[in-house]
Each structure stands twice: as C-alpha cells, then as structure tokens.
Amino acid sequence: MTRPAAPSREVIAPVSMSFIVASLLIALLINLLPWPQSAFVSAPDFVSLTVLYWCIHQSRRFGFTSAWLLGLVMDVANGTLFGQHALAYSVLAFAGIALHRRVLRFTMRDQVLHVIPLLLMTDLIVLAVRVAAGAAPPGIGYFTGGLIGGLLWPAACLLLALPQRLKRRSGYV
C-alpha cells in the first residue's frame, strides 16, 4: 500500500456472459488449429490462458464448473484420458480465484511473472497424469507452451477487455 503499483483500475462496463462464452469458444478453436509439432517448442494452451483471465477478472461469474467442463472438452478434443485437463483447469481456476485480488494490483510485467508459473503448473499436472498413466516424459520443450502463454498475457488482457472499453468510450456507462 506504500506505492500505487498499478495504474488505478479503471471502472469499465460489466462484461456480458455471451462475450465470455464466445471468447472461450474462440480459444478452443485456436487450440484445435493444426499446430506444427516440434520437439523444442510446443504451442501455448489458449484455453488455459482464457480460463485464467476470466478467473482473475471475473471470479464471481466464472469459476470451477466452467473450467472443469472446458477441461473435459479439451480431453475429448485431444483424445486423452478423461479428466486430466479437467483436473489441471480446476487447479488453475482455484489459483486464479485465490490470487485475483493480488494479481490485479501489479503492473502488467509483474502480472506476467504471476501468470507464467500458473500456466506451467497446469502443464505440469497434465504431464504428471500422463506419466502416471505410462507415457514417456517429453523433452524440456514441453514447457515452452506455458512460457509463451504467459508472454501472451498482455495481449489477452487487451483483447478480452476490448468490448468493455469500447462500450465505455461510446458513452453507454
């Protein structure tokens, strides 16, 4: 409380539920795109990034149930064991909801430093379940996905707050 770390949180219009659903669908769509597979870099998980965003910014309206169901959808899309993404996203939602007051006090750079470990933890849970189920552990490149996802956090913040900002600018609030 000694210094105003973040620029004061602007009062923006409440987000509509349809926008949350649309953003999650788009994130799912991006995840389903045919990403090139490489041993050194893995594609970031856009669904987990979006889930974390809504957990931090709208912890009252978005929570465990949605995260868990999205995890099930990801499991079907990936053809993996039922429940591993559901587990990872539930833990992610918990971390996001538990930290949401704290994270929002920080500047964007420090927020990224919060987000990267959370996304890496999500990847780690999926990895743990896979290895427990008998898969061979992948290379260190597996974790670049979480790293890249964390670096995409500012862009996600900008995009996902856009409709609210536009509404405010046009003077509806």
Partner: protein, 298 residues
C-alpha cells in the same frame, strides 16, 4: 484466501471445497476411463458437440491447400504429370505380375483348401487433423461409424501400414499410428522370415524391434511386413525398413531401430481396410509361457 468472507454474504462453498470436489471428480473420471472404459457415451456426446468446431479449425488449412493447388504453375503440373505417367507404367508392369500371382495363389489356396487371407473391401479416407498432444501419435480421419468404420481396422497408405483405428465417432475416427509408444505390430523380416514385435518409439518416424536376441539375423535395410499372426493386421503389409542395428554385448537384446515405410507423419489420403479378425480361437489349454520372438534364438 487470507480472509474469510463475512458471514452475511452468501457465497456457497469455499473455493477450497470446490477445488477438492472438482479434483475428486476429475480423478474419479481418470480412473474410470483408464481402467473401466465406462465413459464412451459421454465422450461421444462431447465429440458430437465439438465436431463443428473441429471442422471450422480445419478450414484455414484446407483453404491454404486449395489456394496452393490453384496457384500451381504449369511447369509443376507438367513435371508431376510426367512423373505420374512414369509411375503408372512402372505400376502397370507390377500389376500384371501381381494379377498372375494372385491367380496362381488362388489356385494354390484352393488346392490346399485354405482360407483366403487377403482383406475384402476398403474405405478411402483423408486425415482431418493430427492431435495436438506431444505424448501420443494419433491422427483423426474424416470417416466414422456412419461410413462403416469400426475400431480395430488397419489403416494403410500407398506405401505401407500407418496404424489402426482405435476409437470411432459418428463422422470421425481416431487412428493410432505405428509410431505411438503403445502400439505394437507383429512383423516378419521379408529377407529370411524371422518374426518379431515392432513397437512405436513415441517419436516421429522411429520404430523399434523389441526383444531381439543379440545374434539374430537382422541387417540394415531389411524390409519388415506384417506377419498376420496377431490377428489384427492382414499378413504381408509392408511396415518398416531397418535403419540401425546396435549390438552391445552388455545388453540382453539387440537395439534395432526402424523407419516406417508409409508416410506416417504426413497429411495424406489413407485407406481403411475392411479386415475382420478371422484367426481361429486359441486352443483350450494355453501353451506354456514362452519368450516372445524366440525364433531367433540358437
């Protein structure tokens, strides 16, 4: 979570309780899916809802492919045409020989009153997308249960075996590639008829012959084809060629790496063979446990 919410606000269960509930549910799902496979129905329902999204995600790639086709130059087309004509001639010769052999084979089989081994029909399909999971080697093809695809059917391309259908949705089917770590094929060395078990390596374009004694006769360049004794694959489908043999006297088995012959990692057209397991049932008394691939033993 450092301070509890005031009692006069209604919050429902605390986040920790919700987390515990969700985790327990997830773990229960994991266990039931891994061990009992009760959840096929739920998976089908979600896959049904997901299908339009998957097709949509597939569109940019298809559009790019169509654009590439549209922009193909005359020179490229001519070169391809010449290559195809050449190939056609080459194949025609091989086909003649094949027909003769097929006829002869049918006669011989008739003489021996043996069952015809070769599969009947086949369904052409296209690879819709590859799953974005670094742990598994699977692709999804664009024909499903509505087109008569069943789990267990072998999938080939023009060069050889690609894998096996492992899960079927109404319009899609999942194919586990031969390179998947969990995938085994019973193969035969075409040079000397030695049988072996070929397993995926989990990496693209690599297979491994397991449990081969050090002195077994496997050499670089040997072609491996399905032996058909597993009852899963029809005999005689080319699978892989041996790319490296390492015999370390300190180990129990030789380390033999192979390269798949089919374009396992490519996006391409594939053929789903209509092959039902016609292997006769095992005899009543199971034979005493023997070592796998014991053929190469002295």
């Amino acid at each position: 979570m450092e301070h509890a919410p005031p009692p006069f606000f209604k919050h429902g269960p605390s986040p920790l309780a919700r987390l515990l509930l969700c985790s327990l549910l997830s773990v229960a799902l994991l266990i039931s899916d891994a061990h009992y496979r009760y959840l096929g129905g739920a998976r089908q329902v979600i896959a049904f809802a997901l299908y339009p999204l998957q097709r949509l995600a597939d569109t940019p790639g298809e559009l790019a492919a169509h654009l590439g086709e549209f922009l193909a130059t005359r020179g490229m087309l001519r070169a391809e045409n010449a290559q195809l004509t050449d190939r056609h001639l080459h194949d025609a010769a091989a086909l003649q020989k094949y027909r003769a052999l097929e006829l002869e084979n049918a006669q011989l089989r008739g003489l021996l009153e043996m069952r015809a081994h070769l599969p009947g029909g086949a369904t052409a399909a296209e690879i819709a997308y590859a799953e974005r999971d670094p742990f598994i080697r699977r692709v999804v093809i664009d024909k499903g249960a509505l087109r008569g695809i069943r789990a267990g059917q072998p999938v080939i391309d023009q060069a050889g075996l690609i894998g096996q259908v492992t899960r079927v949705y109404p319009w899609l089917a999942e194919v586990t590639l031969v390179t998947d770590k969990q995938h085994m094929v019973s193969v035969q060395n075409l040079r000397n008829g030695l049988r072996a078990v070929l397993a995926g390596h989990g990496a693209d374009g690599q297979l491994e012959l397991r449990f081969i004694p050090l002195n077994a006769d496997f050499q670089i360049g040997d072609q491996l084809a399905t032996s058909g004794i597993d009852g899963v694959y029809p005999p005689g489908l080319p699978v892989a060629a041996i790319a490296g043999v390492e015999r370390n006297p300190a180990d129990l088995f030789a380390r033999i790496l192979c390269k798949p012959l089919a374009g396992v990692a490519n996006h391409a057209q594939v053929l789903v063979l209509d092959w039902a397991n016609t292997t006769p049932p095992l005899p009543e008394q199971p034979p005493p446990p023997a070592k796998k691939a014991g053929k190469g033993k002295p």
